[in-house]
């Protein structure tokens, strides 16, 4: 029973972080209609940023959230403005050209980081990295709990932004119907930059939060990109509420899979769920949220 509860707790906490990663991707998906296969790589860049700030300037990973996210926001903005949007204007045979472009961008980001930091595993050791609180027999990792709280706060902030502010409303309008939104006077071009920026910043935040508990290497982007789109599919592409459910489901599935099926199956479980959802529940958990 303890084992079960322990798995539940750690899966849930990890799921909170996954939700943050998935939300950034699903936002981009909703507005631009493209799957950003460089999402995990953008997260990886943010992790290296956090790492550098920590080792060079001694800035605590949680503080660097405020420094890293704006930088990555700008990076996302520039990527969308100079690399992805121009592709919309040319006539091509494959509509998937933008997706392929994100693959290329991911490759470049990975290699730049490898060039600067080499392929070695890096990690940030903070005094609280291994801190745990016990509640009966069940342990709660302190950094994971802080992460979860920050993830919840960021999610709430995002919702407030999307629902209450003008810019947020424009983003939602663009996601619903791009043509109609532009007819209503929304500068949809500008909205796409900003959305890509916000999506990247969310990935960056997730990366920074992951830093105290996870190790870092240039190739880690790929697996996280895959996780992110599993989350998106689970939640229904383009649904931000769905991404939260998707993230937590993936976190739980991985945790239970690792405990009861075997460690080596951890990644495969996500993929199998992904295929099953894709086939039998194409809308993901969207029916839960009507959004």
């Amino acid at each position: 029973m303890d084992l079960f509860l322990q798995t539940l707790v750690s899966g849930f906490l990890k799921g909170g972080l996954y939700a943050l990663i998935g939300m950034g991707m699903t936002l981009i998906m909703g507005v631009m209609g493209i799957i950003n296969l460089a999402h995990g790589q953008i997260m990886m860049v943010s992790m290296y940023l956090t790492y550098s700030l920590f080792t060079l300037l001694g800035i605590d990973p949680y503080l660097s959230l405020f420094l890293g996210a704006p930088v990555i926001f700008t990076l996302g903005l520039l990527i969308q403005q100079h690399l992805l949007n121009p592709l919309l204007r040319v006539e091509t045979i494959l509509p998937e050209n933008q997706v392929l472009m994100t693959v290329g961008i991911g490759m470049v980001l990975t290699e730049i980081m490898r060039f600067i930091f080499s392929s070695d595993f890096k990690s940030v050791k903070t005094p609280y990295s291994n801190a745990t609180i016990f509640w009966g027999e069940i342990s709660f990792s302190v950094p994971l709990m802080i992460d979860f709280a920050i993830a919840v706060a960021l999610t709430a902030a995002l919702f407030f932004f999307l629902v209450k502010t003008d810019l947020g409303r424009s983003i939602r309008a663009t996601a619903q119907d791009r043509t109609a939104a532009s007819l209503m006077g929304v500068d949809t071009e500008r909205i796409t930059y900003i959305t890509f920026g916000i999506g990247s910043a969310l990935a960056a935040a997730a990366g920074t939060l992951l830093m105290p508990i996870f190790y870092l290497y240039p190739d880690m982007g790929g697996p996280f990109t895959r996780k992110a789109f599993v989350i998106c599919i689970l939640g229904g592409l383009g649904s931000t509420v769905g991404a939260i459910f998707g993230g937590i489901t993936l976190g739980l599935a991985e945790a239970f899979g690792a405990t009861y099926v075997g460690m080596e199956y951890e990644d495969m479980i996500g993929l199998v769920i992904f295929l099953l959802v894709l086939l039998f529940l194409p809308g993901g958990f969207r029916w839960l949220t009507k959004a």
């Binding site: 493209i34 091509t92 494959l94 998937e96 290329g104 961008i105 490759m107 060039f115 990644d267 894709l278």
Partner: protein, 336 residues
């Protein structure tokens, strides 16, 4: 009764067949063998993505299948790995059929993601099922030939064969069905094209060709492991890049793409085949030696930048945007 459209293929094949008379260096032959293998994979990807409009991100699933078929036949049954050339294609198709039957109800990017998942699932299976595939250890076999020439001619035959096959398919009724699916699936359906069936046919042919290429790889390299043949980056993405850079939806695009991609990749990796460094040493330019060192160290980065640039400025590939390129250079000459 060959139409003129076949002439370029025949001439290119004949020239390539004579090539070993001039190129005797094993290293260059090795590069060309790999390039020819990529022609096969690129053509297969192009048939599915460029002509039928179903972008696959998981060609490595079929490639690895073919390679593992060849390897496992040798290790478990003691057969020659060359049987893999026939059976590898069949196994890849056998994997592709149930997958396509289930996943072709998905469209566009969804299908692309499903193939990506298939790629990853296959890699995990090959890694986890140690009793059968030897897991991470990989499979090693004895190569049949010491000389590279037999491999060269087999690869050339396969490459020419696959380009010819794609050409034949696209000249037939089947090809028009494929294009109709790419252009507008709903419209194709409404005039009675069984889109699900024809997508399966397209996937079947593509998988078979890719599987054969995988079996050739096993025979030629003599060693495979899950990370090499089911690699998302080195195989699946590379297959896409070969198609995109060369030109999507053109017969010779993947061939052009394969040569460009393999050779540029190798050129950056070795610093213009070592000539750059040697030349810099000869004229004693220290900065060039340093620069070469950086390029070879960051060769994948340079390669990635190239990819981004090609998609950004030549979205239809070298073959597709050839008129544009041609104009660019001819006007450039006029102003000069």
């Amino acid at each position: 009764m060959l139409k003129t459209g076949w002439l370029p293929l025949l001439i290119a094949t004949a020239l390539m067949a004579l090539l070993p008379l001039f190129v005797t260096n094993d290293y260059y032959l090795h590069l060309i063998i790999l390039t020819l293998m990529w022609v096969v994979i690129g053509s297969a990807w192009n048939l599915l993505a460029g002509y039928t409009g179903q972008v696959s991100f998981g060609d490595a699933a079929f490639f690895g299948c073919g390679a593992y078929t060849a390897g496992l036949l040798t290790t478990h049954l003691g057969w020659s790995a060359w049987w893999g050339l026939a059976l590898g294609g069949i196994t890849a198709t056998l994997i592709a059929f149930p997958f396509g039957w289930i996943c072709f109800r998905l469209r566009g990017a969804y299908f692309a993601l499903a193939t990506l998942a298939l790629n990853e699932v296959m890699r995990h299976i090959a890694t986890i099922w140690e009793s059968f595939t030897q897991g991470m250890v990989g499979i090693m076999i004895m190569q049949t030939f010491i000389s590279k020439l037999p491999y060269y001619y087999i690869a050339l035959a396969l490459a020419a064969g696959s380009v010819a096959l794609v050409k034949l398919v696209m000249a037939s009724k089947l090809g028009y069905y494929f294009i109709s699916i790419r252009e507008d699936q709903d419209a194709a359906e409404s005039i009675g094209v069984d889109t699900h069936f024809y997508k399966m046919v397209s996937l079947g042919i593509a998988a078979a060709l890719t599987g054969v290429a995988g079996a050739l790889y096993m025979n030629y390299m003599g060693f495979i492991d899950p990370h090499v043949v089911f690699s998302l980056h080195d195989i699946s993405i590379m297959a896409i890049l070969v198609g995109i850079v060369g030109g999507v939806g053109t017969i010779y695009g993947p061939t052009v793409g394969a040569f460009i991609m393999v050779l540029t990749q190798e050129m950056f990796r070795t610093g213009a085949f070592g000539y750059l460094e040697a030349g810099a040493k000869a004229v004693d330019w220290q900065w060039l030696i340093t620069a070469t060192g950086y390029v070879t160290k960051a060769h994948i980065l340079v390669f990635g930048v190239l990819v981004v640039m090609v998609i950004r400025f030549m979205p239809n590939g070298v073959a597709g945007d050839f008129p544009k390129l041609f104009r660019l250079f001819s006007t450039g000459r006029k102003t000069a």
